[in-house]
């Protein structure tokens, strides 16, 4: 679905953000794109959406070069950016103006998402709070039914009840022919939705695995005495004890701790990567 080959990109000369970056994403999954501040998550998402161009290499989405921004490509992709602008019009006016660009737009679904999110239909977009605007944009994004849906920090600015509503609407939106890419720092908001993890660091993709493969190969657990565990790949100590990652030697699957995994990969990449090779 998304195929990035040897991508190099920099905003400034001699300061490469991506250097020979490779990434393939398939339909039928929700990818979680994780990385530190400034690692290039948003830039990578913009490359996928054709808003930035590769310096070298290619970024192909559904067989189209994203940078060419052909109409057939644009009608099948939607990006919910972290920072966005909405015009000073009503919701109805907004939908009537923008929905025609998306042939599979489902108006009924759009209004049911708004209802789920508790958004009044008759307000001007500019009179809404940041969180409300974001919910309008997310509802619109889901209603477009595009094959590729990209969201940059979607749960930022959402209040507590709407995080649960967000998970429900995303769970309903997944399908075999859709590829959803979400970048996030709030992994706990989404860790039961994301089924594949992509970690970007040091100009490259350094990790990309299914959650299922991760729990096949690694165990996540909390222990009171770290000395009693063998083969600890990474440990984080807190009041409850030590949360650790070890190699999974049994048949059992533990619940993945994405924050722990992220920290582990950033500090102890090599030994963990070897387990997956």
């Amino acid at each position: 679905m998304i195929n990035i080959q040897s991508l190099s990109f920099s905003y400034r000369k001699n300061k490469p953000l991506f250097d020979n970056l490779q990434l393939r994403l398939e339909a039928g999954h929700i990818y979680g794109l994780l990385g530190k501040n400034g690692a290039g998550k948003s830039t990578l998402l913009k490359q996928m959406a054709g808003l930035l161009y590769p310096d070298k290499g290619t970024c192909e989405v559904m067989g189209y070069a994203a940078a060419k921004r052909q109409p057939a490509f644009l009608r099948e992709i939607f990006l919910v950016p972290e920072e966005f602008y909405l015009p000073r019009v009503s919701i109805t006016r907004y939908v009537n103006t923008y929905a025609p660009f998306y042939p599979n737009f489902d108006q009924g679904a759009f209004f049911s998402y708004l209802k789920e999110f508790d958004i009044p239909r008759d307000h001007m977009l500019t009179e809404m709070s940041y969180g409300q605007k974001k919910k309008v944009l997310i509802s619109f994004a889901l209603a477009t039914n595009t094959k590729v849906l990209i969201m940059d920090e979607p749960t930022n600015g959402l209040d507590i009840p709407s995080k649960s509503q967000f998970r429900k609407v995303i769970a309903a939106a997944v399908s075999e022919d859709k590829c959803i890419v979400i970048s996030t720092h709030q992994v706990r908001d989404l860790d039961n939705l994301i089924d594949s993890i992509v970690i970007i660091n040091d100009h490259k993709i350094i990790f990309r695995e299914d959650v299922q493969t991760v729990t096949d190969k690694l165990s996540f657990k909390t222990v009171s005495r770290i000395e009693e565990s063998t083969g600890v790949l990474f440990a984080d100590s807190n009041l409850r004890g030590h949360t650790i990652i070890t190699r999974n030697t049994g048949q059992e699957h533990s619940k993945i701790d994405m924050e722990l995994l992220f920290n582990a990969i950033l500090t102890n990449h090599q030994p963990i990567q070897e387990i997956f090779n």
Partner: protein
Amino acid sequence: MEFKDTQAIYVQIADYICEQVLLSKWQTEERLPSVRELAVLLEVNPNTVMRTCELLQQQEIIYNKRGIGYFISADAVKKIKQYKKEAFITNELPSFFRSMYLLDLDLDELKPHFEKFKKSNFN
């Protein structure tokens, strides 16, 4: 549903479904909510629910009617007890036995405690 940090989500969802059946909230030969409905209800990835269904199908607790969905087996209660028993023996019993061993406790010594427990909780 609140998920715990200890077990894989798909296993916890399997336990949830088994519990609904044991509590007779869902009847045998009844159709399970669809994968999508369960995913939305539990706020998880539909692929996770698929994995739960595969696990429960393997244990013959549910079965698949092509094109219609998953149904709860006629002898689901029996199968659930069998599946949960195995899980109990492999997961919970070792640490229980370890404590018994460390405290020098004998199985016969526990019997009156178990009888008392059954009386006060399930009579």
